[in-house]
Structure formats: C-alpha cells, structure tokens
Point group: D2
Chain length 346, copies 4
C-alpha cells in the first residue's frame, strides 16, 4: 500500500486527487493538508466525501510528511512546493508537484512570467516534466515530478506529433483555449462568483498567461527549435473541461490519412489518448470525470491550415488524474490503475 500525503487537499485539484485516490486500490491517503482548514473534518469542507473520508485537515509540514508517506502531492499555488522541498525530503519521498514551480527549465523565464523569485532553483534540473505520454521513461526514475498545467497538457498533446514530424509551421501556431471555471481555483474572488461567470464568456490573460512559456518550451522540444506562439485562454460558464482549438499553416500538402498516421505513430498505444474518427471533433463533456484526451483535426485546404482540437477534463488529465498517472509510473504500477474512469454524460 502506497502512503500518500496531499498538501493543498481542499482546493479543487486537491479535492479531485482525493476523489481519485479514494478509488485507487494501492493507495492510502495519510495526510490531508490544508492550511485554511486545519483541524476541520475534511468531509465538512467537501461534503461529497461524507462517510468516505474520515480524516481531519492537517498543516503543510513537509518534513513531518516525508517521514510518514511515500509520495507527496503538492496542489498549492506556485512558490510553495519550491520553498518547502529540500534534499533530505527528496531522499525520503517522491514529490509530485501540481504547481508550476519545476515545470520550466529556464529559471529566468519562470521568474519573469510568475513574478516571483524561485526558492529552490537547484532542483529544477532534476525535476521531470510529468507529461506521461511524452516523458514516460524519465518519469519512472524521477524523485521530483513537475505535473503539467491544465491548459498546457491539452495544448501540447494536441499538437505534439505534428510539431515533432514537422507537419506544421510553428511560427504560425495560434492556440485558442477555453476552460471551465474550476481552473480558476476555489479562492473567494468576485470575478469567480456564479453571477459573474454564468451567462458570460471572456478571454483573460491575453498575451500574458503563464502557461504560455510552458507550452512553448515543450512544443519547442518536439519541434527541435525555439517556438513562440499565441495562446489565449477563455473562461467558460461550466465547471470542468478544457477545449483547445489550434491553428497552424501546413508545411506541405497532406491527406487526412497521412496526418492520422502521424498521430497514431505517437499515440496508438496510449490508453488515455483517443484519436477521434474523421469529421468528429472533441467535446469537453465526452471526457468529463475521466483521464482521457480526445483529439480531432481538420485540414483546411482553402487556407492551407491545420486545425487541431483537443479536449480534457482540466481537473483530471489536467491535474489530479495526470498526477496519479505519474505516481503509477514512479511506483511501477499499471499506468491506468485507479484511472479507469468512465466519462460521465450528461
């Protein structure tokens, strides 16, 4: 039985980790960390867990945690994990960090986009970017995993094979992404109130969203060169789901079947990536509650553009589900253990 601790268990991603791990036969959650609710019953914060979770919330003590558990998930704002981690802790326990702290290899880029000084840049190099379908082998050997962002998981996986195979002109790549509101977190802010979000659609972080450099870095690895792209996130009046619509010029004429073959080259064996049939495009509802990434594409001959569409559940494949997938890899379990989640419709 793997013993797990969660720092930040009462945010939406933390809550989803609890939901998923509760159904994972090889894991026991030993520590429900939550600075805001210390000593409160976890199930009084998330009443859906009533009679399922009996624990009370604990503080953020990572040193203590490292003694008690085999893996720590940090589902906290940027800066916290990096400020708590140290060599001693890493020698005792695996860390899967759901924040951005160890995702970006260039510390200057991190500090510029996030506007904070990185508290422990010495661990950036060893940290493995936990995009399982891309970095599977390194993940298996990692002590510290940087779990990818929600927008980035969806944006990267949707374009990865075409970037890798040079089918699209990376200088023309535009990613227009739409997210449910759970991505904004559980903080009490006016802009996330029901009446502000419901019946409303807006872009935000236009030209400045922090997931941009993360997408650029990873797609840069795929393309084998530096990539600069446009990424615009939008807030949608729904709880869960990310849809990414991606546009790029084709580098040469291709048929649908050729493109499909390229996607299959990378994803054919992937449990969690579903390549949709011709003429079918992803809808966020089709993946809700599951760890799937659904991908469809259209070759627009009129404009010479490839239009790629990807959908995930931002809390599952975009956060907690991928974190568990990483944990499974690290501990040598079947990759889909605890993740055979059937999407819920409607």
């Amino acid at each position: 039985m793997i013993k797990a601790g969660i720092i930040g268990s009462t945010g939406y991603a933390g809550g989803e980790l609890v939901r998923i791990l509760t159904g994972h036969k090889d894991v026991e959650i030993k520590w429900f960390g939550s600075r805001s609710y210390i000593d409160k019953k976890y199930a009084s914060v998330y009443q859906n867990m009533f009679q399922i979770v009996d624990a009370v919330c604990m503080d953020d003590n990572m040193e203590e945690l490292a003694e008690q558990v085999d893996v720590i998930f940090t589902a906290t704002p940027q800066g916290l994990c990096a400020s708590l981690v140290n060599e001693e802790i890493l020698s005792k326990v695996k860390i899967i960090d759901l924040s951005a702290d160890f995702r970006i290899k260039d510390v200057a880029t991190y500090e510029k986009w996030y506007g904070i000084t990185h508290p422990s840049p010495q661990f950036i190099e060893e940290a493995v970017y936990g995009l399982c379908e891309v970095n599977r082998e390194q993940i298996k050997k990692a002590r510290l995993i940087a779990n990818p962002g929600c927008y980035t998981t969806c944006s990267i996986l949707t374009a990865w094979p075409l970037a890798k195979e040079g089918l699209i002109d990376m200088d023309t790549l535009v990613i227009d992404a739409k997210s449910g509101t759970s991505g904004a977190g559980r903080g009490a802010k006016v802009q996330n109130l029901f009446c502000e979000v419901n019946e409303n659609m807006k872009a935000y972080g236009v030209g400045t969203h922090r997931h941009t450099p993360e997408i650029e870095e990873q797609l840069g690895y795929a393309a084998g060169r530096e990539v600069t792209l446009s990424f615009t996130p939008h807030l949608v009046p729904m709880n869960r789901g990310i849809l990414a619509t991606e546009y790029a010029k084709l580098t040469r004429p291709v048929s649908w079947e050729e493109v499909r073959a390229v996607y299959e080259k990378y994803y054919k064996e992937e449990t969690f990536i579903r390549l949709l049939d011709k003429g079918v495009f992803p809808e966020t509802k089709w993946v809700e509650g599951s760890n799937y990434v659904d991908i469809g594409f259209h070759i627009d001959e009129r404009t010479g553009r490839m239009i790629m569409l990807g959908a995930i559940d931002n809390l599952v494949k975009g956060a907690a589900g991928q974190a568990v997938q990483n944990m499974n890899l690290v501990f040598g379990l079947p990759e889909d253990e605890g993740l055979k989640l059937v999407p819920m419709f409607p």
Copy 2:
C-alpha cells in the same frame, strides 16, 4: 459473469446503466438495445463511450434477448416492458424494469394516472417494488423488479422512517421536489432545449404528476394506512440531481436526537443512505454521480412541522444505480458491487 441486456440503452437512464455496468466487474453487457439507432455504433451516439464500448445498437427483441442474457434492463417509456414481457421470458431471465409499468399494485390507479391500458396486468402482483432499502428480502427472490422512479426514490426514503414510526401526520405531508433536466429524457422537445431551461425555474405537472400515486402507495405501506399527499415537481437548470423538501406536522413534540434515532433505526446499516449531521442539509452536488441518498431534517418548533430534505442523483439512485443495486441483490452479489461511485465535485 452475468450477461446483461439493455432495452433503451440510448436514453439518459440507459446511458447511465452502460456507464455503471462498464465498471462492474461481474457483468458484461451483451445487448445495447435502441430502436432509434439500430445498427449504429453505440459510441457514435454517446461519444463519451468511444473506445470503451465497441458494440452496435440492436432492436427490442425481448424473446431473443431472453435466450442470450441473464438479466434484462428496460429503460424505456411506460407500456413497453409490459407489452413485451411474458411467462416464457420470465422463466428464463430476470427483468429489471426502469419504467412505471409494474410499480403500482392497483392497475386502475396505473391506468388513470398514465392514461394507457396496462398490457399485462397479470404480472403486477408478482413484481417486486425495487426500493432496495425497504424491500431487500423480496427483491432477492424476484423475477420481475419494478425499479422505482427518481422523484419517488428520493421522496419516499426521505420520509419513510418517520411515516413508519408515526412521527408525522401523513394528512399534512407536502413534497416539493426539484429535478435536473436529465429527468425529462433525451427526446427532442422544444421545452427541453437549452435556451428554454437555462436561467429558468418552473413547476410542472402541478397536482397531476405520475409519480404521485407511487409515492402515496409506498408511504401508505409505511404508515399502515392510505395516504394522500401533495407532490409538486420543478425543473432546475442543471443536468442531474433531485432535491426533495418535505413538510409535515409532527404528531407529538420530539427532539432532534429522537428523530435521528428513528432514522438510524432504519438506515444505520445502509451503505447508500447518509444521514447528515445536525444543521447540515443535502445538496444535489454532494451526491452527483453516486448512488447515495443524503438526508437531513429540521424540527421547526414555531410551526410544529418537520422539514425533511433528501437528495439523490436522479440517474443513479433514481434510475440506473438502483437498478444495478437490485441486480446485485437478485444475483447474490455484494449490494454495492460496481456502485462504489465517489460523488464528483465540482
């Protein structure tokens, strides 16, 4: 391995049966019946099941089905199951009928409220009303189970112990129920379009809803006398969930603890009923996707009334989940097999 067939597998309740049975380790679905989509791939109707269900939709042939499977679920409009069932079929296969055909013991009452002639009244007597927490032992021996309605499951279970113990005056019982829109089915009707339901709240079937006699009959058994009550359903702009708010005069002064003890007398050992703490009242989101019934109550001393509140997911405990719970009972499996569904939040 239990072989199951579903007639009406492409309605919302049918789809939920597929979702739940797909995760049930002892069941294999052999027949995806759907008159409207014969020969179409099931996953093209419910794209969430892509790469999970590979079958194509079949017709409604119950005779043929009875040869091939161990249990048939009929998730169809009233009248269909009753018109297909016969003694030969019942001798070969268990039937769990999600329609209203065999729920009401008095055929005249059925015919009055449903406005149709009952096609096979000879099976009404043997049919067992599949409210598992109430009729567990009879269910285990049944061939034909009348799976309760969604409003009724919630309404009955919320009041049952108090009716049984005579704590409330049944002549004063008022049930005001609110349901998500999946309860209205997947038929293409203007009144169920997104723009008609969203940002709207309404009552319907005021004084005439067909679940009324079903609630009255069952609560009548509990009370040991005929019950006539007011039941008003309302349509809420959400996909899933039923909340029932029930009002009745107390028959005598009682403390919160006494009432709690009465609830515990009947539900303490029930896996799927969660009695909430004092001052906590159910919310539909806390049970979403799960088979739970959450119940809370308030003794209103000012008015001498008991206010009881219950919440379920209408597609799970209100339909498919309860159907699987019934199946588990019939086949001698653990009652919660395939039903350890953790509610999803948000």
Copy 3:
C-alpha cells in the same frame, strides 16, 4: 428632474437600480455611493455601463447626500440605513431603503431574527412598507419607505388575496421558494463561487431565514390575525428569478373561477401583476428583467389544498424595480414610468 442618490450602488440591487434609473426619463442619478470602490469609475466596476455612466463612486455620506438629492436609495446590508438616518435628513429627502431595517414593525422581532440592535427604532412606526399593490396610498405620503425583500414580495403577493378573503387556512401555509444566485449578493464568498452553485440545488436557512417574519407580518395583516408559516428558501443555479410554490388547505370547496375572481378583485387593475390563464404556471424566465409578478394556481381536489405559484425577477420587482415603483408613487409620477421593461427571452 428628480435627483437621486444611491448608497450601495455596486451591489447587484444597486447595479439594477442604476440600470433602471438610467432609462427613467424623469430621474438623474447624482450620487453613486459605494464604500468599496470610492473614487473608482462606476463603469469600471460594472463594465456594462461603459459610456452610459460616467461618474465615479462616492462614499456613504447621507448628510451630504440629503443636501444634493431628492431621493436616496439605500441598497446596503441591514443596519446601515437605520444607523445613518435622522430627523434632519428625513426632513430634506425621501428615503427608500432596500434593506430590512424598517420592514418589521415589532423591533424585538427584527432584533431577534437579524441578531443586531436596531439603531433607530423611532422611525419604524412612520416607515411605510413599500409593497405598492397593497400600500399604495400610504406610500404616496411617506418620507421613509421600507422596500420589501425579494422572497417576501413574491411570497406575499402570491397568497395575499386568498389570505384576505379567508379562502385558505393560514395555519397550513407552507412556502417553498427558489431563488437565483444574485439574491445572495456580490460578496466574495466561497459558497457563491460558480463551481459551488452551478449544477447544484440546495435549501438554506431552513426554518431560520430572515424573510420569514416579514412574510408572516404582512400576510397577518391580510388575514386579520397572527400567522405562523413555514418558509424554505432554495438556491438555484441561475442569475435571476424567484419562484414561490405555496401550499395551504382550502377553508371551503371552491371552483377555479371563484378563486380567479378573488385574485381579480385585488389585482385586476394592477399593471405589474399578471394572472395567468387556467393550467398555466409561472416560469421565472417569463418575467426576467421586468417588474412583473406572474401568478398561477391549482386547486388540488384530492388533497383539499390550494397550490399557488408566483414568479418575479428578484432584482427588479424583488428589489430595484419595486424601489422605483415606490419612487414614482412618492413623486406623483405614473407608477410604471421607467418600468415598462419587456421580459427578455431567452
């Protein structure tokens, strides 16, 4: 031109007052009070008012305001209006208070339900309860108007004629009300976040909601006796709208036409009350954005109960619209001036 000042102009009710008064040909808003946004442009808080309102937000100085305007609207939490008002101010300016401070005649009742000491009980007697359809003549002569609550406006008007004419047994009255989320205000609270409200339905304030004594007092005037009733509010995942479903035993057998005649006796000439046709029941969407109250009813012969249903837009007839209706009465304008708002659908 009437000069108006609004204290609390950046709450949802305050914002709705601005929307309505902006379209009122005889009114000019001179003061946009908002403690939280002093010196900020009003249109930067409510960007819908961009290029419509050019003013900046001001503080709560009622003394100063009384010098500058003819009417003050206080759209603030309970206690504030009562703490600011004094004889000098009332001698200079009309006050329409959207809070609960002057709604309840018995100060002890107010203090018990609201849990605060009333800061100026000396004005309670002269304050007129601004339910226009009931207290029209007193309103015309008032200096201080207690604008009714949202739930109360809907609950009272729906039952008023039947209470007045003794058709229903007031001891059996149960009011089950459902409200959109704007009724919860614009404060940044976790429970009002989009992800907490969306896809969720719950009751709150069960047996303890502060609108209860207000409804009881007013329906008590109608019935000519003290009334104690059950009132349960529910939160619905929509922005606007209140639906009240009200149940009571009939005191004698009546026909639909007789009841209709009773409603018409009181409401036939009312511009803002629409008595629906037989078999038609109100939906909140039908009144959205308007000052209408839609009322329907059903005589349930099986149970001997009357089921009354009423719907309003909680921000219009339940707050800002009724406040403007009161203002029109006080200043001798046509009662519907600025209120000919056609409901928006969808």
Copy 4:
C-alpha cells in the same frame, strides 16, 4: 407610425424583434407570422409577452403583408425570403431579411456554401448588406436589406478598421468565435437539448461554417483584395452572446495608441460601438440585451500578432437589434430609436 410585419416571429430572432419593436415608439407590429403556430396566440408561444402582445400568429403570405405594412422582417431559414420576394412586393414595402439570402453578392458562392439554388438571384445586386456602421448611406436608400449574420457582424466589425488601413496581414487572419446557444435556433434537436449543451464546450462546422464566405467578402471590401481566412465557431453553454477572438500578423510595428487611433477613425462617432480602455477586453455579459459591440485589442510583441476581441449579443446586434437599426435608417428615424437598451448585469 410605421407598420411592421414579421415573418418567422416565433424563432428566437423573431421573438427578439418583437421584444425590441414593442418598445419602439414609432412602430406598430401588424403581423406576427409563424407557420408553426398559425391561429395560436403569440403570447402562448412566448409567455413573457403575456398581456403585452395580444395578437395571434399568421401565415407567411408576403403578398398580403405587402398591402398591410410598411416594412417586412423575415426571420426565417435561408431560401424562404428569396422564394417569396418579387418586384411588386418590393415596390410596395421595405424588406429586411435576417436570413442569408441576399448577403453574398456572388450567387455561386451562396449556392456552394448553402447547398441550395437561389430562388431569386435577380435581387442580389440591389440588396444592401445591412452592416449599418459600414454601409449607412446605401442602407438609407435601400428597398431590400440583407441583415448580416451574428458571427459575421461581430467578426467583421472587430477587424474592419485594421483591415481597411492595412495594419494586419489578411492572409494570417484566424477568427475563433464562441456563441451562446440561442444562435442555434428554436428547432427541437437533440444536440440543442439542455443536457447536451450544459457543462459542454465544442467547436462545430470546423472549416465549413456558412458565415465564412460572408466574413471573407466583407473584410475583402475593407482590405481591397480577396481574403481567405480561418473561421471556427464554438457552442457555449449560455443563452446569448458572441465573443470573437481574432489573430493576425501585424504588417508593421505599431503602438497601442496608433491602433486605437485607427479604430477611432472609423468608430468614434458610432453609438453602438464601444472601444474599451487599454487592458480591458470584452465580455459577452457586458453587452447582453443591448445593441452594443464591445471591442478590445492587444498587441502581442512576442509574436508580432494583433489579437482583436469583439463581443455582441447575438440576438440584438447580431440579429433583431441590427434589423431595427436598419429600419431606423431606411425610415429616416434616429438610428438608436428603440435601441437605447442598457445591458443587463448579472
């Protein structure tokens, strides 16, 4: 008093026309056409209009209508207006067609994208494309006005000044548009049911949506050359609103102020276009119920791209509001008569 007739008055755009014209002081609706509801009371179809509209629905007889009214609005599917119109009718009455029949000057393009034979191509040339801010003078003299589509109004106006002034490279233009569900019409289709749309986000008509050639034609006029662009519409779980996010390479380095000056050159005097402040981007809720177009932009120096964002209410500026604006121009009324609609929030 202008007498108006509406063909297709019970669709969502038709209903919005009724809402707006009801508040227009110079117009009287004489004919509520609706093939589906002939002889039914209009207010029984749209109960929000109860006691506001007393008329019954009529058939589609345009010849008869031309005798009775001054202006006919056709809010019907493509093909209907073009099949009814003829020279005699046009000699008697103004026609404002909300369908696509006369929007595209090249009949072959129309027939290719719409898949039908144009029934009256002889009127295409004289028809004026009713984008008021662009074609104001021609509209004033027109007999037949092609009211622009919802996506197109938003997409075109957002980019128009930059296309006209050559600031953006039209070959790189990508328009990613998001629409509320009322844009899909009131037809009873499974895909538009509440449970299918709610909590879901999807693209549709990828590479094939019929508004594409309309946008290309109009932006081609602005650019002075043929334009081919990518346009992808998305369905959002909300009733109203369109948000267009548009991306294009800058043709030369520009400052925010220069771009703003270009927008002001074309829109400074426009009542219905609001150019947002620096750093502010449009949200659909800010224009809901109004005829406004809100526009914001961001110069993305990293990528050399211009990101333009525009928002409208699809039923107002995207349909009925613009139709009334056209009518005002044709009849010499103030352009904003009946259109001083303040956006509703929340």
